[in-house]
């Protein structure tokens, strides 16, 4: 058995500032197997891949390929040793043709001249092997998602490959493309290539896996042979956190419906209906790519709504732009605070007052009023900063998030849409943000919270909507909210 191992990870430890992701993690890969890795959002799958592909170095522990320990791994070294990684997003040159993509940085030459014929022949050979109908001269940007993934696989095969890592390869694929890809993968593993396959889609896992490893919070829960595994067992392993460690939130009184959306579509979201009451926190769950952020953008008027109707306090309203949304007392705390929430190069004063300008009709402002407003909300949010004239870029992640909150508090809104409110924030700041949310609910405000953080979702939500493929698949009431229930609907187990 031991001789069969191509890859072995032992005692892996990896921490990021404030969070320990892996602690004494072990993993092995057998020659020629398809090994699936399953886990919730944030379980540590991406970190695991990045350590194998050389993007991250483990703090402790060893990675051995063919019983030879790889030291000081870098992306170049890993590729040279035959570990090829295909990430979720396409990583190709869209304006070049297939041949040029396959050999970019790795060209075949005759002396100093390029060996075009050799490269074309080799491309044809590999495309033929993959049973692909792509022409070597197709421009990659014109190809569909599935074909582009095939090109990436072909590129990995051209280089020395012992291990092929695929991270969520089928997102945005059609059914036909998925089947095609899974066939290729099976074929490759039969040829002796070892494959690590990461997917949210359980049906794919059961089709191609030889073994499955479940990870949760950076720990290996179990490794199974596929014959010994069923969906129920898999989901059970993915969940199972200690509920007593969750944040405990005070209850708030829930009254009338404040916001209601009927059959809205657009921006990749199909036929969604939802409502949120005063004093209620509506959680939205789903795997990455299920359309959660897209839904929030639709609600806030960032993207165009193709159809549907929105009511606020029982009255029909039009929300075509963020300006309309703000006028209707809504706000949107985005997922990526640095690129869509803050003006990093500007002072906290400018950051806090800018959205509140949308609420008044007078064209004039007093700089001294701006400072007063800013100081009031920066203090209320308890932002740690030497002064309100500090630039936002110098604050920590948690404090930056509080500045974004201060900006919206200054607009005095009634519906808060949070997208991943505590991503990249340390535990202390997280709790402060939960307290702020609880306080909002107590004042009768409404919250829609999108989150990948399961404990957060369970601790804070009064109701949870689960999304998949741009649709809402289920509404889970308070008493029914638990990890297993949410996860089962998110990844589409047992229907």
């Amino acid at each position: 058995m031991k001789n069969n191992l191509i890859l072995e990870m032992k005692g892996i430890q990896k921490a990021f500032p404030g969070v320990k992701v892996f602690d004494n993690f072990n993993f092995d890969l057998i020659k020629g197997e398809v090994h699936c890795i399953c886990g919730e959002n944030g379980a540590g799958k991406s970190t695991l891949i990045k350590m194998l592909s050389g993007a991250y170095l483990p703090d402790k522990g060893t990675i051995a390929l063919d019983e030879e320990v790889i030291l000081n791994n870098t992306p170049r070294l890993a590729m040279g040793k035959g570990i090829q990684t295909i990430y979720q997003e396409h990583n190709l040159y869209p304006l070049l043709n297939v041949v040029n993509n396959l050999f970019a940085g790795n060209e075949m030459t005759n002396g100093i001249l390029l060996d075009s014929k050799g490269m074309i022949d080799k491309t044809l050979e590999i495309l033929d092997f993959l049973h692909s109908e792509i022409s070597p001269f197709d421009i990659v940007g014109d190809l569909g998602s599935g074909a582009q993934k095939t090109v990436e696989i072909a590129r990995a095969l051209i280089q020395k490959s012992k291990i092929l890592i695929l991270d969520e390869p089928t997102s945005s694929f059609s059914k036909k493309e998925i089947d095609f890809l899974l066939n290729i993968i099976k074929k490759l593993s039969k040829e002796g290539l070892s494959i690590i396959y990461i997917s949210h889609h359980l049906d794919e896992v059961f089709v191609i896996a030889d073994r499955v490893t479940v990870i949760r919070d950076g720990e290996k829960v179990n490794t199974y042979l596929i014959e010994d595994l069923d969906e129920h067992k898999l989901i059970n392993d993915m969940v199972g956190r200690d509920v007593s460690s969750f944040y405990k939130r005070d209850e708030a009184e829930i009254s009338d419906v404040f916001y209601k959306a009927d059959n809205i579509s657009g921006n990749g979201v199909t036929d969604v209906s939802l409502f949120v009451r005063k004093g209620e926190l509506l959680g939205i769950s789903g795997m990455v790519g299920s359309g959660r952020t897209e839904l929030a953008e639709l609600l806030f008027g960032v993207k165009e709504m193709n159809q549907g109707e929105i009511q606020i306090n029982g009255k029909e309203v039009n929300i075509d732009t963020p300006l309309d949304a703000i006028a209707n007392r809504m706000c949107f705390i985005t997922e990526d605070r640095q690129s869509t929430g803050l003006f990093l190069d500007h002072s906290l004063v400018r950051n806090t007052v800018i959205a509140s300008y949308a609420k008044s009709t007078s064209p004039f402002v007093l700089p001294s009023d701006d400072v007063k407003i800013s100081e009031k909300y920066i203090r209320q949010m308890n932002v740690i900063t030497p002064s309100v004239f500090q630039k936002a870029m110098y604050l920590s992640g948690g404090n930056q998030q509080k500045v974004v909150l201060a900006k919206w508090f200054a607009t005095d809104c009634d519906l808060f849409i949070f997208d991943e409110p505590t991503r990249g924030i340390d535990v202390g700041a997280k709790e402060e943000i939960y307290k702020i949310m609880t306080e909002l609910l107590r004042k009768g405000k409404s919250i829609i919270m999108i989150s990948s953080d399961m404990p957060e979702l369970i601790a804070m939500s009064d109701r949870v909507l689960v999304m998949r493929n741009g649709r809402i698949v289920v509404t889970i009431e308070k008493s029914e909210i638990n990890e297993e229930n949410i996860l089962q609907h998110s990844i589409g187990g047992s229907e």
Partner: protein
């Protein structure tokens, strides 16, 4: 904890005047300006035999001339500061001045329009074309660099069509905007273009400080996506800024026309370089969101004084371009290193 924090905020808010002054974002360039004035003054003083009355540089006559020379560039620079704060650029302004100026001269000469009427015409033409350009840039999100380059060539063609490549003289009409002045001392005159520049600078400074428009322009330039999500209609905002910039271009063109007394087809050629240089030297970032009106005023005066000083000191005029180029590169470098230094200290 919150108490301590708020005290800290309060303490930082009440910085001493001196501290505020040296921390001000215009401090470096202002210091450079003063330094250059002092150096040029002494060089001039010594080379004129240490007789104060013979030294030309700080004489009333010379000061009024320098001010007159920079006024038109200054008015254009104010408008372009707005465009650049928003993160855009406009290369068409030099040839736009040629086009607007000569067309107005044509209307006065051939149709007998009065001064006020051609001012109105200049404003209409200039605002219309800037709005057209702003419309294309704001709706398509194409690079303003390339769109304005296209417009630049169009204005050039228009200018030659209107003038046939020849000057259109005003025949002694339309003097009030460029050729009048107020005599403040026997040697120091405040020319009308200078007065216009000063009034517009103050007006724009007030607008930037006391209106939402002024605050929002930084937001749009600083982070367009965040600005949009904060309730700013970015498309229409950009359109409006280009319109306002058109107004400044019209005022500058008409002032220049009146000053020259003739619609010269090359009256604004190359002005875009001087203007953009002045704005950049004044500390406005090409990427947008950073800079201010007084910085631009300092930049304009600094470039004006350098050419003037080189003239007075008898330096070959061909060197002036080289000096100007070096100054632009140097000022951007200073800005770069001071921001690098600040970042290092903070983190």
């Amino acid at each position: 904890m919150s108490n301590e924090n708020s005290e800290q905020i309060a303490r930082q808010t009440r910085n001493s005047f001196f501290q505020k002054m040296i921390q001000h974002e215009n401090a470096t360039m202002f210091f450079v300006l003063v330094l250059i004035i002092v150096i040029v003054f002494f060089v001039d003083f010594f080379s004129s035999g240490m007789v104060l009355s013979k030294a030309k540089f700080l004489s009333g006559l010379n000061i009024s001339n320098v001010m007159l020379q920079v006024a038109v560039t200054g008015i254009m620079a104010l408008g372009i500061t707005l465009v650049m704060l928003m993160g855009d650029i406009d290369l068409s302004i030099g040839w736009m001045m040629c086009f607007v100026g000569t067309t107005s001269a044509y209307l006065l000469r051939n149709f007998g329009w009065s001064g006020w009427m051609i001012i109105l015409a200049g404003v209409v033409i200039s605002v219309f074309f800037q709005l057209l350009m702003g419309f294309i840039i704001s709706r398509t999100k194409l690079e303003s660099f390339i769109i304005s380059l296209g417009f630049m060539s169009i204005y050039r063609g228009f200018t030659y069509l209107v003038t046939n490549g020849r000057e259109i003289t005003l025949g002694g009409n339309f003097k009030f905007l460029g050729k009048t002045s107020i005599k403040l001392t026997p040697t120091f005159k405040l020319y009308t273009p200078v007065l216009i520049f000063i009034i517009l600078a103050i007006l724009l400074w007030l607008i930037m400080k006391y209106t939402k428009f002024g605050r929002r322009i930084y937001a749009v330039g600083g982070n367009e996506k965040a600005a949009f999500l904060s309730g700013i209609n970015v498309m229409n905002f950009k359109l409006m800024v280009f319109g306002i910039s058109g107004l400044f271009m019209a005022i500058a063109s008409m002032t220049q026309l009146s000053r020259l007394g003739t619609g010269n087809p090359l009256m604004g050629q190359g002005k875009e370089i001087d203007v953009i240089a002045a704005v950049v030297v004044g500390g406005t970032a090409l990427s947008g969101g950073k800079g201010n009106i007084w910085g631009t005023v300092i930049g304009v005066i600094l470039l004006g004084i350098i050419s003037n000083a080189l003239n007075i000191l008898g330096v070959n005029p061909h060197y002036q371009y080289i000096m100007k180029g070096l100054l632009i590169i140097l000022s951007v470098l200073v800005g770069y290193y001071s921001s690098v230094r600040k970042n290092n200290v903070k983190s």
